[in-house]
Amino acid sequence: MYKIVRKKELNPTVTLMDIEAPLIAKKAQPGQFIILRVDENGERIPLTVADYDREKGTITIIFQIVGATTEKLNQLNEGEYIQDFVGPLGVASHVEGLKKVAVVGGGVGCAIAYPIAKKLHKLGCEVHSVVGFRNKDLVILEEEFDKVSDKLCVMTDDGSYGEKGLVTDALRKLIESGEEYDEVITIGPLIMMKFVCMLTKEKGIKTVASMNPIMIDGTGMCGGCRLTVGGETKFACVDGPDFDGHLIDFDEAIERSSMYKDFERHAHGEACNLFKKEVK
């Protein structure tokens, strides 16, 4: 069992938790993920490590309430326990040697983009962060990003905060204004990453995308997380989760991510009834 030592609501549908897991905290690197199971009947879900504190022995996770499992997880409070918590899994993001990077995050994906931006900043790299959200209420980690970024663009779809528009609009502006990046790192909804990669391909800038497909074991056994990258089958859990964004077959990944949509909607509905709570 793994103790929840801190819980903080970042916005109405996104929650942060610090989980006591000293061995994992000792090893975790930005870009890696953990797998957790909320309770005995729970499913195994992957969540990318949002932060770690090697001294306190904690791992920070940030999750959006999208289905029954994240709803159940969100019902737990500080001092309570998660059944299973395993990691750090996957290959850490390659950040060494980069001089100037644009980090592009969307929605809850910003939770994963943040530790990478932080690490790059610490290594002396010039970091430009572009973060996008649907509206003002959903903005997360703005202060944190601000501290580790040489430039920060906050975008909202409806213009209720920051600048109105998509992250690709801001990124295009930066590139076209003459900013030269060694690399673009993007994390967020698949559709957003697809368009970021299309833009950077056009501009000839190397781009890494962090993928978060459906997984079960997360250790290279089930093959459920397979993606097509450069025409080859890759497993996100052991080969990734970071891949060359210009080689990923995003359309296939988008289709595959919808495999259990009906089940999730149904289960989520049941969970909501169970907790007698409205979830937006």
Binding site: I24, K27, G42, V86, L89, M221, F235, V238, E252, A267
Partner: protein, 463 residues
Amino acid sequence: MPNMSLVKNKMPEQEPNVRNKNFKEVSLGYTEEQAIDEAQRCLNCKHKPCVSGCPVNINIPDFIQQVAQGNFEEAYKIISKSSSLPAVCGRVCPQETQCEQKCVRGIKGEPVAIGRLERFVADWHNAHDDGNVEKPVSNGHKVAIIGAGPAGLACAGDLAKLGYDVTIFEALHLAGGVLVYGIPEFRLPKAIVQKEINTLKAIGVKVETNMVIGKVLTIDELFDDLGFEAVFVGSGAGLPKFMNIPGESLKGVYSANEFLTRTNLMKAYIEGSDTPIQNAKKVAVVGGGNVAMDAARCAKRLGAEDVYIVYRRSEEEMPARLEEVHHAKEEGIIFKMLTNPVEILGDEHKNVSGMKCVEMELGEPDESGRRRPVIKQDSEFVLDVDCVVMSIGTSPNPLIRNTTPGLDTQKWGGLIVDEATGLTSREGVFAGGDAVTGAATVILAMGAGKTAAKAMDEYIKNK
């Protein structure tokens, strides 16, 4: 006077058309009377040919003599000297190619039902067990086992009995390896696996779940920081293989590992499990091994109307156990032999809508000695399915070899070991099971675990 019946006592079973709708165990096990009657078929041969067919050398005639006399607990003691998991092996060992194949009674008629008797003895013991075990005296040495599957459990059991302080590190949330994620409940009830693991815990074995060695701790850290003196790697089979034909990324295409893990480990078949599985109506399982049979029989139980086994050679070449093939057929699984998929077809939403196949015929023997299947001209047809399960093998998990310097591997990724001891190219690191051999059987993995346990004991004593 031995019982000279030419046939085995029949195993009581659930009716095929009842059991293919539930996940309860198919075979119900002998009664005491049936077991004694069957045991009396054993001739108690002096040269014990059956023992040489057993990968862990159980003293088979001795335990059977005890059964014949109704001394079931004595029989259990004899088996458990050689096997750490008798209730498991009695169910999943391919006895027909091991002990039973060597049985003298098999020359004329059927061999003694050694597997069924082993199962009976283990179940009898478990039903009458008071839970009291003698904890071995500690010898003060620490050993680590990576992977709580058959190889690791067997190795742990033997070392614990010798007094070692044994810790098993398991990557999943539950110990048992393939016994819990792969082999379905109806063939091996999970309560039995749990019971065997509890027995190991009772003699002092520690099981640490959620520990992915190579990630959270390396083998070097197990030695240097945690004081383990020897390590056994039983990390099992790894990444599933696909055929590399078009359509394998469609929704509704599973590896057998994923399909079985969702069903068994994550209990997708039980109402109330949070893990989803596709509600498929027509399922094709590609492959001819035991895993393919398990996947097909699970699919049927999950409610599929038509379930096909699609295999490119003929039934004769199928690697699955006869008993499994027989059970699958009884349950209504349709066998499409000499058939090979060439493409999986999808609808506009990228869901599986069919599988394009070709018919095959057998040509000249290949390197494996089996006749090579070749495509029959103009034989293409589409099998109407909405789900495809690929059960064509696995390649070893890269996590340990990528994080352990000095560990030599075969080109295909299997760890290289000395066969007599299980020693790898790293001092103090031993290995066995599928991580070494590639996909094989539970009992071979157990045998490898036991071999390594003996060698680890000698290694530590001579250090």
